[in-house]
């Protein structure tokens, strides 16, 4: 490297890294140290300028560590492995859907039982009514409803009320 090139590199390094040789790139150390110690006027002027900038950069105070920051770091690190985070909203929604599904399962047999009871009651009543139909008068007497069909109707009614109460 020529003297001119060495001097240019010296100025470039001072401008980039400052006047402290410890901050200079290792590859340039030896050459630049020789130039720095040569004592030429230009060299001294470059070094002085770089030192001034270093002085300005050096005098910034260190930032204060926020109060409690170390405790927060320790708390975060030392926290025991926790259970997976549960989304309460999702759990509630799922529970609600499950409850609805249970209700539906209860409602279906209850509905079937009610429908069957109703049909049985109607059929039983219809068969009794047809057997007691009196064409001549066209009326239906209370006496025509026998005890069995009355009991059947009562069971149907109880089944209905039981099912209602159960659902609630």
């Amino acid at each position: 490297m020529s003297k001119t090139a060495e001097m240019k590199r010296f100025k470039d390094v001072l401008l980039a890294y400052g006047a402290n040789p410890e901050n200079w790139p290792a590859d340039d150390h030896e050459t630049l140290r020789k130039i720095a110690s040569s004592g030429g006027t230009e060299v001294q002027a470059c070094l002085r300028e770089a030192r001034e900038m270093d002085a300005v950069l050096n005098h910034l105070p260190e930032a204060r560590v926020p109060d409690g920051a170390i405790d927060r770091a320790l708390a975060k690190v030392m926290v025991p492995p926790s259970a997976p985070v549960v989304d309460l909203q999702a759990v509630r929604a799922q529970r609600s859907r499950f409850r609805d599904a249970i209700d539906m399962r209860q409602a279906i047999p209850v509905g079937i039982a009610m429908a069957a009871s109703l049909m049985l009651g109607v059929l039983a009543g219809f068969s009794d009514l047809t057997s007691t139909y009196i064409p001549d008068t066209g009326t239906i007497t209370l006496a025509s409803i026998d005890e069995d069909s009355a009991a059947e109707s009562l069971i149907s009614f109880e089944a209905f009320t039981f099912a209602e109460g159960d659902v609630q």
């Binding site: 980039a16 300005v56 050096n58 910034l60 260190e62 930032a63 320790l74 975060k76 690190v77």
Partner: protein
């Protein structure tokens, strides 16, 4: 035989006392010693936090990065050489973490002017208020982002130029160009107050610790 004696016997230069302490603490941390870990965090937290803060300039984010560093140390303590400096290693991990975080926020760290500058005071206002260090801080904060980071990584974090260049995704030549432009820009910004700054610093007059948050 204790650690320094072992090293001396092996012909390895002994690390400074604080490093020995850090490394022996690290050894205990590796064995799950929570108390040793607490001591270690207390010792090196400021360096780790400041390294992250210099890059990110936001206290909360710097704290998050510092916490990540200590989580990493606790879960997977590094295997450092006997002459390694745990504090420097941790600060470097924090710097990398902070740069990663910065990239996620801003994928292309450009040479544009910073889009987020501390609104507190300008360099001129700080000088008028007699806060020389504040004026320098403001001038640094107003540098284009890559110039600021180049200065922070090489000057304040002390990274080797190759490593700083890699972190910024630039060549070493480009890093030197960024550094030179940063220094020129700072001098231009502070030119009116240059002599005053030098006199102030020569007298040891600057803000108390913590007055300026970034550096």
């Amino acid at each position: 035989m204790d650690q320094p004696l072992k090293q001396a016997a092996a012909g390895i230069p002994a690390a400074p006392a604080s490093q020995v302490t850090d490394l022996s603490l690290l050894q205990q941390v590796r064995g799950g010693d929570q108390q040793a870990f607490g001591v270690l965090v207390g010792e090196i937290y400021p360096a780790v936090y400041r390294a992250a803060l210099r890059v990110l300039r936001q206290e909360q984010e710097a704290e998050d990065v510092a916490q990540d560093v200590f989580l990493k140390i606790w879960r997977d303590p590094p295997e450092l050489r006997a002459d390694a400096n745990l504090k420097a290693w941790s600060a470097r991990v924090a710097t990398n973490g902070a740069i990663d975080r910065l990239r996620k926020k801003k994928p292309d760290i450009s040479d544009d002017l910073p889009d987020q500058v501390d609104p507190a005071v300008s360099a001129d206002e700080a000088m008028q208020a007699g806060e020389a260090a504040g004026a320098v801080q403001q001038a640094i904060d107003h540098l284009p982002e890559r110039q600021r980071l180049a200065l922070v990584l090489t000057y304040y974090q002390g990274l080797p130029n190759k490593e700083a260049a890699d972190l910024l995704d630039v060549s070493v030549d480009a890093l030197e160009s960024l550094l030179a432009r940063a220094r020129r820009a700072l001098k231009a910004t502070l030119s009116e107050h240059w002599q005053g700054l030098l006199e102030d610093f020569a007298q040891g007059g600057h803000n108390e610790e913590g007055s300026w948050k970034a550096i």
